[in-house]
Symmetry: C2
Subunit: 350 residues, 2 copies
């Protein structure tokens, strides 16, 4: 059982160190090997997803990623930007199913910018398609046409791409609240009319799951108005990028949210939902819990170790109950700790 | 000075009746003529944007629209759906600049699902490009390819399309808080890299306006986290559809929000930001204030009657201060009124 560990940029190395300690403490016999991705990889090798990393990631059963990117690399040519590393590894490993929970821990209810009654107990799972859509569509580019620059991109989906992400979402809903909301813009985009059609065709195979459809503009509103109406949401890569970030922020504690990106065989890449936070990098204050919770997702989805996953999640709940808080989730009356101390607390709770 | 009045579907006719009364009470000598659009037009003529409506809209100086759509027409073939009428009139009249204010009236602060301190005093203007992008891009469709259905759409912008909406946004920012945030997804989409480049090129012409850029996923988060950081936001048609609805809902009172869609010469279409609300149609309970405030925008942008616009806006503020509330914004301690009575109150306040 091999795990490819990619700490990445910014706070990546700090939060990853704690996640790795948690993994080691579980003594499940994983083999871990580290490699470069993102800005650090560009600095060292000239490319954000080096050949050596690709080889390691392909050979591993799961990939654990910190975060990529930072201002230092923002002005590089497109192909060398850190986030190209992320897009490349998703595509190369066929990680089409991105699972992003938006959960509000009771202890952190105040962190949300929404009223407590609107978000208390929030528990949404967003299933985002991750290897298709306008992200990877051809043709694309910027050209000279009629004497001026012209930019173009292509949104597209095949019915089999929609069906396989649909199945992941229906299965997930089946294990949770049994309600699935599929998000599209079928009144304008033919691609998403096909999306709606295929989701509708799948529904009879999951009679225990209640399927509904919502337009993306309405979904963006409903997430703000009454987010608890949702159980599982499924949508394409582009809309999923926007809605999953919106949903995360409803919790006010994005430092707590893990994510999983899976292929057809449950091989997966696991990473926190937050970014590389260059402003606090190297200071030892970043919240490692989203990365630690990503380890839990990895144990569950790739390795089928539900018990170990629950143990990690339980330890995180315990440290919250004990009042430990990193700066991002600190409030008066709790104990402010750094990245390392938070890792210590989780290890103790394990 | 001719106004084409399009009541449309659902609550459209009810709210429009009040807006028309307000216009008449101002005695500014407007000529008004009514026509069909949306579902009602489909029922009467077989098409959501009939030739007669198009002729009238083209001949008018401004168009006032209620709302279109409803479940009755949802299963019609694509070309007959009510919203095609909306897309057709935007495109035909060249209404490329959609201005959507998201304002939280102090009296309605409680209506928001966000904490009062996060949204009190909110006043954002979203400038959305309305005649380009993936909404109108060719090629598009659903085809059979390799034995399965394949859906595709094209996102595109030319630099001149970006420049003209950019100018509208910079000008608007100049008249307000002098801060403009341009939203794109330049790290993935070439079209929006061009968007960012053109906005950046425009900036030196507006040295008094501070331009910033934000990725769309981050913008969706920041609107939830700290919406008051924004003054004017500018973005493309697709992202604008999503973000402007999200921003409206931050106020919790979408029944209060007008919108304007302008062409190069400030000819415009004005409509409330909310939809046709079929569930309450015909009951006389809909909130007419967004439509009445759309009249104010029309007076300001198309007819240059700033004073009359302020008079209408002042009257709306007054009825709120007097405690009049339709059902959507009602709370204990205020007076619940119907559509007609709300219109009466505004007329009295004028
Ligand atoms: C960094 C970027 C390419 C990426 C995306 O848009 O998918 C990120 O926003 C995400 O959601 O993981
Ligand atoms: C009805 C629909 C076509 C329209 C759009 O997507 O532009 C609506 O959502 C809007 O924002 O005015």
């Amino acid at each position: 059982m091999k795990i490819c560990v990619l700490p990445g940029d910014g706070i990546g190395p700090e939060i990853m160190a704690e996640a790795v300690r948690v993994l080691e403490a579980l003594e499940l016999g994983f083999e871990m090997e580290e490699a470069l991705i993102g800005g650090g990889a560009v600095d060292a090798t000239g490319t954000p997803y080096p050949e050596a990393t690709s080889r390691l990631a392909k050979a591993a059963d799961a990939v654990l990623l910190g975060a990529v990117g930072g201002p230092k690399w923002d002005t590089l040519p497109r192909e060398q930007r850190p986030e190209r590393g992320l897009l490349a590894i998703r595509k190369e490993l066929g990680l089409f199913a991105n699972l992003r929970p938006a959960i509000l821990y009771p202890e952190l209810a105040n962190a949300s910018s929404l009223k407590p009654e609107v978000v208390a107990g929030l528990d949404i799972l967003i299933v985002r398609e991750l290897t298709g859509d306008i992200y990877f569509g051809q043709p694309r580019g910027v050209e000279e046409r009629g004497g001026e620059r012209y930019g173009f991109n292509t949104m597209h989906y095949t019915e089999s791409e929609i069906r396989r992400i649909g199945r992941v979402a229906f299965e997930a809903a089946r294990k949770r609240g049994k309600r699935l909301c599929s998000v599209d813009k079928m009144n304008v985009l033919e691609t998403t009319q096909l999306w709606r059609d295929v989701m509708t065709e799948l529904a009879p195979e999951y009679p225990d799951v209640e399927l509904s459809h919502m337009l993306v503009d309405n979904a963006a509103m409903q997430l703000v108005r009454a987010p608890k109406q949702f159980d599982v949401m499924v949508t394409g890569n582009m809309f999923g990028d926007i809605l999953s970030d919106e949903a995360s922020m409803l919790t006010g504690s994005i430092g707590m949210l893990p994510s999983a990106s899976l292929d057809e065989n449950n091989k997966g890449l696991y990473e926190p939902s937050h970014g590389s936070a260059p402003d606090i990098a190297g200071k030892g204050v970043a919240n490692p819990l989203a990365t630690i919770l990503s380890v839990a997702m990895m144990l569950r989805y790739t390795f089928g170790r539900e018990e170990a996953a629950l143990r990690v999640e339980g330890a995180v709940k315990k440290v919250l109950a004990q009042g430990y808080r990193t700066g991002d989730i600190f409030e008066p009356g709790t104990s402010r700790v750094g990245t390392r101390q938070m890792g210590d607390a989780v290890l103790a709770a394990l």
